[in-house]
């Protein structure tokens, strides 16, 4: 089950401090990168919640993020809502759609769950791509940023926006961590290890899965809102299955089922991508090779590797989180 080990708390603290300091000193492009990391970090927190802890490996989280981004933009642009209610609505809609997907897919396990979520995600992608209401493949522009001028905060400024993005990552992390501590979170981990037994103990399994998926969907929706506010432009590409695939890559790179690791993964991934793509247009291949190497190494990502090393050295108890499908 999820625990805040000293290592995790330290890593969180370091990442928070590092990103805040960087947000103060970074140049314009650095702030862009920071926002990009924040969006990805929120998405992978959402994904790790269900995939890492619940064993529900989803390939529709990109689409759920897209639901948030589109709902936010449409609510703000077409329905004339202000940013905050539009955000609440967008997150609620993402959660509702995620609940439905989770409920429908609750019986599917392993590769079938992956494929079922892929189908739902692509369905959404195709729908938005062709829908004129959502701007088709040209996307939608003009999403507003949250107006916090009442608090004396101006989010149109890149630096302020970076702080805002970091705050949203913290919020997403908090929601995920609290969910994992809750009865539902405990059940979620239990479901991953032994669904049959939990059912025999009296848990309505589909509802637990769907609720967990809904919370994860809400967090993904938050990532979508942040993405829409960041670029103030959204396009269907956000919803493609490859976005979900990349998010999964980041979760694995960072450390599945550690919640802290995927955030580290998001930082590494975005920085690495920019570093490599500035050297060669063939950076996909290099990212692919790194991914293969990480998965083949059998370590649970970068953070999992560090955890295992420290656990081995201090001879404290073994990390109890195993690879998601060790028992699959």
């Amino acid at each position: 089950m999820f625990r805040h080990t000293p290592l995790r708390l330290t890593t969180l603290g370091l990442m928070a401090a590092g990103s805040l300091i960087y947000a103060i000193i970074a140049g314009f492009f650095g702030l862009e990168i920071l926002a990009e990391i924040a969006i990805l970090a929120i998405l992978v927190i959402a994904l790790d919640l269900v995939a890492g802890f619940g064993g529900m490996v989803s390939l529709c989280h990109g689409a759920l993020m897209g639901v948030g981004a589109y709902a936010f933009t449409v609510a703000a642009n077409e329905a004339g809502m202000t940013a905050l209610p539009a955000m609440v609505l967008a997150i609620a809609l993402s959660a509702a759609i995620a609940f439905a997907i989770g409920a429908v897919c609750a019986r599917s396990i392993g590769i079938y769950f992956i494929m079922a979520t892929l189908a739902f995600g692509q369905m959404g992608y195709s729908f938005v791509f062709q829908s004129s209401l959502f701007g088709g493949d040209d996307g939608l522009s003009g999403a507003p940023r949250l107006d916090l001028s009442a608090l004396g905060i101006d989010l149109t400024d890149s630096r302020t926006f970076a702080f805002y993005a970091i705050a949203l990552v913290a919020l997403a992390y908090l929601v995920a961590a609290l969910t994992l501590r809750s009865g539902l979170g405990r059940s979620l981990v239990g479901l991953h290890h032994n669904e049959k037994r939990l059912r025999a103990l009296g848990l309505t399994v589909w509802r637990a899965k769907a609720t967990a998926f809904a919370i994860s969907g809400a967090i993904a929706g938050l990532a979508g809102c942040l993405a829409a506010q960041h670029t103030q432009y959204i396009s269907p590409g956000l919803m493609s299955w490859t976005v979900s695939g990349e998010a999964l890559v980041v979760v694995i790179l960072g450390g599945l089922g550690t919640l802290v690791g995927p955030i580290l993964g998001a930082i590494l991934f975005v920085v690495l991508k920019h570093e490599i793509s500035s050297i060669t247009p063939y950076w996909h291949a290099i990212v692919g090779l790194i991914l293969i190497a990480v998965v083949m190494s059998r370590a649970n990502g970068v953070f999992g590797f560090i955890e295992a090393r420290i656990a081995a050295r201090t001879r404290t108890r073994k990390p109890t989180l195993k690879e998601a499908d060790a028992d699959a």
């Binding site: 009865g183 539902l184 059940s187 981990v189 239990g190 059912r199 025999a200 009296g202």
Partner: protein, 247 residues
């Protein structure tokens, strides 16, 4: 407390349970005996709803639960353990018991607090740990403890739901005679108002624990009565031991 009427299940032409009538009173401890393939585990699976009978009905505390789903039956106070360990690997023993207690308390879907730290769950975990002798191992990971301990946890998880009726499927299967005896001592110490149905193949231990005994053979009840009567029943010896030796 728990009753079946003409419970029948067949896979194709093979009857795995055939017209089984059982009636357990509150607080009764009954042992089911029978050779391999007699339909004991299949009977359990039907009782808790993991498989659906072809005909017949099941009553829990007077309520017809035949068509009810697994989780709903569990919430009415029906709990079971499995012949093959069905634990939450990777979690600690405390977490295993706590999860069970939390779910049984209806807090498995809760969002607002950590049920594992709630007083009721903590208390249940403490009590169950005492009942099945797990107190020293509470913070050990399931992966790190011996098979015997895991067997005890298997029953502990079922007990942690605070059931009215508990079904135990060969709780001492694969465990050495010494540990087995100790385990039966623990069973006997369970509260008297708990209704217990146990599948057991060790006859001596069965007679030690049971108030009443049911013998299944080829899916049919061939004996239903007191242990003394069972012990002296020639029929039982023929069928049970005969089949046993064949097996």
């Amino acid at each position: 407390m728990l009753e079946t009427r003409a419970l029948t299940k067949s896979f194709g032409a093979i009857h795995v349970t055939k017209g089984v009538n059982l009636k357990l009173e509150k607080g009764e401890r009954r042992v089911i005996l029978g050779p391999n393939g007699a339909g004991k585990t299949t009977l359990f699976n039907q009782l808790v709803g993991e498989i659906t009978p072809n005909s017949g009905s099941i009553y829990l505390d007077g309520q017809d639960i035949t068509a009810m789903r697994v989780a709903d039956r569990a919430r009415l106070g029906l709990s079971r353990s499995y012949q093959k360990n069905t634990l939450f690997d990777g979690l600690t023993i405390r977490e295993n018991l706590g999860l069970s207690a939390a779910v049984a308390l209806g807090r498995g879907q809760g969002l607002w607090s950590d049920p594992l730290q709630s007083p009721e769950v903590v208390e249940t975990v403490r009590e169950v740990a005492a009942q099945v002798d797990l107190a020293p191992y509470l913070d050990a990971s399931v992966n790190a403890v011996s098979y015997g301990i895991r067997r005890q946890l298997e029953v502990g998880i079922a007990l942690a739901t605070r059931p009215k009726v508990i079904l135990m499927d060969e709780p001492t299967s694969g465990v050495g005679p010494e540990m087995s005896k100790g385990f039966h001592r623990l069973l006997k110490a369970l509260p008297r108002d708990l209704t217990v149905l146990i599948i057991e193949h060790d006859m001596d231990l069965a007679f030690d624990v049971a108030d009443t005994i049911t013998v299944l053979n080829y899916g049919e009840v061939v004996f239903d009565g007191l242990p003394e009567a069972a012990r002296s029943s020639q029929l039982l010896k023929d069928i049970y031991l005969g089949a046993w030796e064949d097996a």
